[in-house]
């Protein structure tokens, strides 16, 4: 059968690689956007001076890191995890464990990242055989099982949680005076940049194209020879490590971790919410979602404080449903839609100038 050669048609010359490039580049934001975003973030605590605003910024950046990690797996690879609190908790608990033994928090966080990456790969190994909602439910199951184990088994503080010792404020100890929280803010910003660069490098390379191909059509991706399982695991490992970075920093900021604050289902839900709200599969979406969510939460909690009522969940839920019905690209897509005509008008206004006065003008 193999030798009865039907004349092999010459393979269509390696399908236009040049045509691929611009579309790929368009999916990742340009570095100018990155510079603007980081500059705005760096200016924030200098513009808003009160401690409450700094606290909002610190939490928004921390959850922005976690949601960016979620987005790599959920948004770009198409594996919707409802159990990312597991990796946040892995980061928080590993850091807490080592710092309580006298380790440097920087080293502790450095160890927490590979721990979470291995954990994420270990969870993904069996679970990535499952598709769509089977996978999503499995992630809830794994995270909830760990939550129950940590709550009940001795060794990790059980339901009481762990407190971290307060030590002399210094950058080396990753503890600062509570009178001025700005150092925490800039450390969080530094961590966010680290996470963003890691995700950007991953997505920019071959792996980035492969995971998008897996998201768009897993069967087709496998058919063209992409090792689907391996690239899902790679995305999960990096995603887990980034989420753990958020957890490690968070535990150093609040100096406390217990199962609900480190491993709870609500935490997983909020990472997903932030990414969906801001824009799933968009680079800056999760960060935008985190800022909006943390800010709204802060405002509404003050408004309804003491009544036990809260309006934030109601609001998010309504937004999520609205977004999934009308604009799956999230707030970022809505902003872009508003911005596009303005940009076009600006361009039109400035366009005639250079054409009119010739090429001598620089």
């Amino acid at each position: 059968m193999s030798t009865t050669s039907t004349p092999t048609t010459p393979a269509p010359a390696a399908s236009a690689p040049a045509g691929d490039r611009p579309s790929r580049a368009r999916r990742l934001p340009p570095w100018t956007t990155a510079v603007l975003v980081v500059a705005a973030l760096a200016a924030y605590p200098l513009v808003f001076l009160d401690s409450a605003a700094h606290n909002i910024g610190i939490l928004a950046l921390t959850f922005g890191i976690a949601a960016t990690g979620w987005n790599l797996l959920g948004g770009y690879t198409g594996q919707i995890s409802f159990g990312h609190a597991l990796y946040f908790g892995a980061g928080a608990y590993t850091t807490a464990l080592l710092v309580r033994q006298g380790w440097s928090p920087w080293l502790a966080i450095g160890i927490a990242l590979p721990v979470a990456a291995v954990l994420a790969a270990a969870v993904g190994w069996p679970c990535f055989r499952l598709r769509h909602h089977y996978y999503s439910i499995a992630t809830i199951a794994v995270a909830e099982i760990v939550f129950i184990l940590v709550t009940n088994l001795p060794g990790l503080g059980q339901a009481n949680g762990w407190e971290l010792p307060v030590v002399e404020p210094s950058l080396a100890n990753l503890q600062f005076s509570l009178l001025d929280k700005r150092p925490y803010y800039y450390v969080a910003l530094g961590f966010f940049c680290l996470a963003a660069v890691a995700v950007w490098l991953f997505l920019r390379g071959r792996a980035g194209n492969y995971v998008r191909a897996i998201r768009d059509d897993q069967a087709a991706a496998a058919a063209v020879g992409i090792n689907v399982h391996r690239y899902k695991l790679a995305a999960a490992a990096l995603s887990g490590a980034i989420t753990a970075l958020a957890g490690g920093f968070y535990v150093m900021y609040v100096l406390f971790v217990d199962p609900p604050s480190g491993l709870g289902l609500d935490l997983s839900v909020s990472f997903t919410l932030m990414a969906v709200l801001g824009g799933v599969g968009r680079f800056w979406g999760p960060l935008l979602g985190a800022w909006v969510l943390v800010f709204v939460q802060d405002v509404t909690r003050q408004e309804f404080s003491g009544t036990g009522r809260s309006v934030d969940l109601l609001l998010y839920g309504a937004l999520i449903v609205l977004i999934s019905i009308t604009e799956p690209g999230g707030l970022l897509a809505i902003l872009q839609r508003i911005w596009a005509p303005i940009a076009r008008r600006l361009r039109r206004r400035s366009a005639p100038e250079p054409t009119g006065s010739g090429e001598v003008r620089a």
């Binding site: 997903t272 036990g308 969940l313 998010y316």
Partner: protein, 286 residues
């Protein structure tokens, strides 16, 4: 020995409620290929309906069963028309996210309207009943919940397997294109699924008020159990869900006897084992 017997009986009784909750979930999944992450919240709303029927009208939870069933059936219809029906045919992501959004919305609504406090019907009529059969003690609320849940589950199974309309719903699930050629509007059948799921969860909520308390998160553990039951019975299989509900109930009762803190963990472990080892479940076909 008597402890063992007691926990098996307790497990069977609560398992009937698991079955009733799971039936709606598996129906929506089987026909529409959508996982309703807001399923527990429908149970929760059923519980609140029953609670307010008692606190405002003085109705016993038993008497508010029809009211809760109809209210949540309407809620289910609204959820379909307002949200889920609008993302059909879109990416799997949109379909997962929309019911997830409904979950957050409904839980937030309950928390906003009724605060996180738990609400209990202090002395339902069934609480006075109690039977002792040999060493086993059976409380009235448990029996009422189990009998009600079995009847309701049976009614859904009968409707789906024995009536023309139920056949039409199944046809729409198996092949929407062919069904619409036969004069069946798949979208109407999908809406009907949500109405039936609403009826089932509403009835379950009212039954549960015989011994549970309502709170914004009251439905979470039942929803998690329903996922386990649906996987165990085979995604989409109604008879499977009914049987698996009882089995999971018994398993939960037995685990509870030896390690009460780990009942939910054991059930979720069961989910993982089932989907990884036997994805078609007990009675699933694929």
């Amino acid at each position: 020995m008597s402890d063992l017997l007691q926990s098996i009986v307790n497990g069977l009784l609560i398992g009937a409620v698991f079955a009733l909750v799971a039936v709606g979930l598996t129906l929506i999944y089987g026909v529409m290929d959508v996982v309703n992450f807001a399923h527990g919240e429908m149970v929760m709303l059923g519980m609140y309906t029953s609670f307010f029927a008692w606190s405002l009208l003085g109705l016993d939870p038993l008497l508010s069963i029809p009211l809760a069933g109809v209210s949540i059936a309407l809620t289910g219809a609204l959820m379909y028309v307002g949200a889920v029906g609008r993302v059909l045919g879109r990416s799997p992501l949109a379909q997962v996210i929309v019911t997830f959004g409904l979950q957050v919305f409904l839980r937030g609504l309950a928390q906003f309207l009724w605060t996180p406090n738990t609400r209990t019907v202090p002395r339902p009529w069934a609480a006075d009943l109690r039977w002792e059969i040999g060493p086993v003690v059976i409380g009235g609320p448990q029996v009422i919940m189990a009998v009600g849940a079995l009847l309701a589950t049976g009614a859904v199974a009968y409707f789906m397997n024995r009536t023309r309309l139920g056949g039409a719903v199944r046809a729409a699930g198996e092949d929407p294109a062919a069904a619409s050629l036969m004069g069946i509007d798949p979208r109407k059948m999908y809406a009907l699924c949500w109405v039936i799921a609403g009826l089932a969860t509403g009835v379950a909520g009212a039954l549960l008020m015989n011994s549970y308390s309502a709170s914004p998160t009251a439905g979470v553990s039942f929803a998690l159990m329903a996922f386990v039951v649906v996987a165990f019975g085979g995604f989409g299989s109604i008879t499977g869900a009914a049987l698996a509900g009882l089995l999971v109930g018994v398993a939960q009762g037995l685990v509870g006897l030896y390690a009460p803190s780990y009942t939910l963990a054991a059930a979720l472990g069961l989910y993982l084992v089932v989907v990884l080892v036997r994805p078609q479940g007990l009675l699933g076909t694929r």
